[in-house]
């Protein structure tokens, strides 16, 4: 038995070079092999995971640390509108806000992306031209994912064709919950292929998967299938993103990188409305996976109302006073 005294040496020793082909090729050969692999992952103790998240939630983030956290959180926001009533006008208005979140303060950073339904991706692309802000589109029969494979793939191609450079797909929770893991895997692989150069975010909808064990298995399944990001929720199901589920998913991307050398991003979405919530998530990132993930390339917030609270808190730090909701734009 070798005693590894420096985690760095363990990772360097067992981690294949990026791009050399995952060491897990054989686990996706059959449903049985995939099942055995996913069920062989270390379990998650619910009480322990929730306790850890709660403890991290008590970190006291003040002054310079808070200012840094607020600006970082703003730069990680996927500013989202996913309503049936969405219109080109609404998307353009959102894009304007994405570029310049605080009209009174040009030092406020821009957000990471604007997230819309696929048919409006073209409008967003046009409105965000030259800004460097990404356009994310939800696809694959979002939010339920209840459609045939052909329809889902067509949905993806349509969104990519409209110019979206990030695709947020939903997994087939029905297939996952009934244990048809390989089916879920193959679907993600097919969607990834249909994405082309676009980044793929895989939405696990952890609120419907219910257990943390399932969240960890689904995370690994998505990563094995080539996800660039794993995302908690659609925002249409309650509970959406929670701190413990984000913790479990971060542990999964950390372990996945240690095993394969490939880094995968994490996006909690839905239910994160306040600066306090966002800062708690950043603390969990910081203390679970470290600074490597503390950038919009590897961590995003899927949110619509969070941005305004971040801006109000930002104004508060700058002026020393709380202002009202009329000091930030409605969209």
């Amino acid at each position: 038995m070798t005693h590894v005294l420096d985690p760095g040496t363990l990772e360097a020793g067992t981690r294949p070079a990026p791009g050399s082909g995952a060491p897990f090729d054989d686990v996706t050969r059959s449903d049985a092999a995939l099942r055995a692999f996913l069920h062989g992952l270390p379990g998650v103790d619910q009480v322990g995971a929730e306790q850890r998240a709660a403890t991290l939630g008590t970190r006291s983030i003040k002054t310079t640390a808070k200012a840094w956290a607020i600006d970082t959180a703003i730069s990680m926001v996927d500013l989202t509108t996913l309503e049936g009533a969405d219109t080109p006008g609404k998307v353009r208005s959102l894009a304007a806000k994405a570029r310049r979140p605080d009209p009174t303060d040009p030092t406020a950073p821009a957000v990471a992306a604007v997230c819309v339904y696929g048919d409006l991706a073209g409008v967003a692309v046009e409105a965000l031209e030259g800004s460097g802000i990404h356009v994310a589109a939800v696809a694959t029969a979002f939010p339920s994912g209840r459609a045939s494979r052909e329809v889902k793939l067509a949905d993806v191609r349509d969104a990519v064709g409209n110019g979206a450079d990030e695709i947020d797909m939903v997994i087939d929770r029905g297939a996952f919950l009934s244990g048809r893991y390989l089916e879920v895997f193959e679907e993600i692989v097919a969607v990834k292929e249909a994405c082309g150069a676009a980044h793929l975010k895989v939405i696990l909808e952890t609120g419907e998967l219910v257990t943390y064990d399932n969240a960890r298995r689904a995370s690994w399944l998505a990563m094995l299938a080539g996800a660039d990001f794993i995302k908690t929720s659609t925002g249409k199901v309650s509970p959406a993103a929670t701190l413990p589920v984000c913790l479990v998913m971060l542990e999964a991307v950390r372990d996945f990188r240690a095993a394969t050398g490939r880094q995968v991003g994490v996006k909690p979405a839905g239910g994160i409305r306040t600066t306090k919530d966002a800062v708690k998530h950043l603390v969990v990132v910081n203390e679970t996976v470290g600074p490597d993930w503390l950038s919009p390339d590897w961590f995003r917030f899927g949110a619509s109302s969070l941005l305004n609270d971040l801006l109000l808190q930002r104004q508060k730090l700058r002026t020393g006073h709380y202002s009202g909701p009329d000091h930030v734009s409605v969209d």
Partner: protein, 480 residues
């Protein structure tokens, strides 16, 4: 790893609590001078002198015991049990109201991080008073006969690791059962007990029911050996416990002892690894490892040893060591220079015996008493660091191959206070827990305390239980 996210210091305000330049003894409801040479109590994080503390001599202890006896026979003993309960409820509520004050004072005097005194010590201390307040008028239903009676005067000596919490563990059941108390807090951490004396006055507790006599070993001995003390309760080192047992032997006094431990924290290969790592950290680094039930021996199954150790080291790298009053500090100061010397000595012995010492890169403050979180791998059951209680942030890692071996190694200690089991398999938890000679066995968690749960040890970890229905028995005589 470059640190992007630096947490700015978030210090709790010291001004919430007044530390007097000097304190007397609390006897018969009054603060009085002690006859001994006063001593100083320091902040272990800075070595700054906090206050001067009176020292009780035999004569002072005698005064306190006589006050307690008077209160016992005239007021507290005859009082309606429901009224005793009201006093306890009142104390519990005041503890909650003044929680922040107590938390700051405890961290100043003890060196423990404010997040622990704020989130663990003070809330649990209040919970013990609430819990025992509920028992005060229901003692007939505790399974100790229809009308159990108090012993009378309880002499109590408590340690420095949880000054307020250990006070609550001792005082709350004693009062609920109708006993009066003479308590000697530890010499390095008397301040929260003296603030508690103020709480007793605020709650209008009758004079003499609680008496607090500060001082060192001689004062403690005077309390234990006083002929008019009926019941002795001690929490502290096995060595002192042994001398108390000798002193009490042959008298009519009743004795309970909560002594040292060298708990095994057993991690099986099917354990939830991330939570097990959290449990290992909580087991040994909680309160700087100054915990008698600390999980100081990690028994990890060989097949997952490397994975667990790598995860543990990564996790320890995130622990923040430093100013106890910073709300983001995870590990505070070692309580005293003496204790620091002992931790250093035992760690050096560990290395000399061939175990491998690992410590994370962490900066320690220049002043004060500090020791970084430490892990020893390659430890054998024959090593002293696997046998002696270090009482500091030092973990010894041993391995095992089968459940039988785990049990044999876990029980191979002169102590028997606590143990931990980490496995996803429920049947294994029950099977192993049954075979462990330990007073408390935690499953997939560690260092969890609750007033309803009895706590105590086997072998050299002492005898008697505190907390729960079992804890009441130590303070009551069965009615005949």
């Amino acid at each position: 790893m470059s640190q992007l996210f630096e947490y700015a210091p978030a210090p709790e305000s010291r001004s919430i609590v007044d530390v007097a330049p000097s304190y007397g003894l609390f006897v018969d409801g009054e603060f009085v001078d002690g006859s001994g040479e006063p001593m100083k109590t320091v902040n272990p994080a800075t070595e700054e002198v906090l206050s001067e503390i009176a020292v009780g001599t035999e004569a002072d202890v005698d005064r306190a015991v006589r006050a307690a006896r008077r209160a016992s026979t005239r007021v507290w003993g005859p009082m309606r049990p429901a009224d005793r309960g009201k006093y306890l409820f009142r104390i519990a509520r005041i503890l909650q109201e003044r929680a922040r004050e107590f938390a700051v004072l405890e961290s100043l005097d003890n060196g423990k991080p404010i997040r622990e005194s704020r989130d663990v010590d003070v809330p649990l201390a209040a919970a013990h008073f609430f819990y025992h307040a509920g028992w005060a008028d229901k003692l007939g239903y505790a399974g100790l006969g229809p009308d159990p009676r108090p012993h009378g005067v309880a002499g109590q000596v408590i340690p420095w690791n949880f000054p307020l919490l250990m006070l609550a563990w001792k005082v709350a059941p004693a009062l609920a059962t109708g006993n009066t108390v003479v308590l000697k807090p530890a010499e390095t951490t008397p301040l929260s007990a003296l603030l508690f004396a103020e709480v007793c006055r605020q709650a209008d507790l009758p004079p003499g029911v609680v008496n607090i006599v500060t001082g060192a070993g001689d004062t403690g001995r005077a309390v234990v050996e006083h002929p008019d003390v009926d019941k002795v309760a001690f929490t502290g080192s096995t060595e002192v416990g042994r001398s108390i047992a000798r002193a009490v032997a042959g008298t009519r006094k009743v004795l309970t002892l909560e002594l040292g431990g060298k708990a095994a924290n057993i991690v099986f290969d099917d354990a939830p690894i991330d939570q097990a790592v959290e449990g290992i950290v909580r087991g040994i680094f909680f309160n700087q490892g100054h915990v008698c039930c600390a999980g100081s021996r990690l028994l990890v199954q060989e097949s997952v040893h490397d994975e667990v150790i790598a995860s543990l080291q990564r996790r320890i790298g995130t622990l923040r060591v430093g100013d106890p009053l910073d709300k983001n500090t995870d590990i505070g100061a070692i309580n005293s220079a003496e204790q620091l010397a002992r931790i250093r000595e035992l760690s050096d012995i560990g290395e000399a015996e061939g175990a491998h010492r690992w410590q994370p890169a962490c900066e320690l403050p220049d002043r004060g008493f500090w020791f970084p979180p430490t892990v020893f791998t390659d430890v054998s059951p024959a090593h002293r660091i696997a046998r002696d209680e270090v009482f500091g942030p030092v973990l010894s890692v041993l391995t095992f191959r089968t459940p039988d071996e785990a049990v044999a190694k876990a029980n191979n200690t002169t102590y028997g206070l606590s143990a931990g089991i980490w496995t996803e398999k429920g049947s294994r938890i029950l099977a192993i827990a049954d075979r462990l000679r330990a007073g408390v066995v935690w499953a997939n968690t560690f260092n969890q305390f609750d007033p309803t749960s009895p706590f105590g040890g086997y072998k050299q970890s002492g005898y008697g239980r505190e907390g729960g229905r079992h804890g009441l028995a130590a303070y009551l005589k069965e009615s005949s």
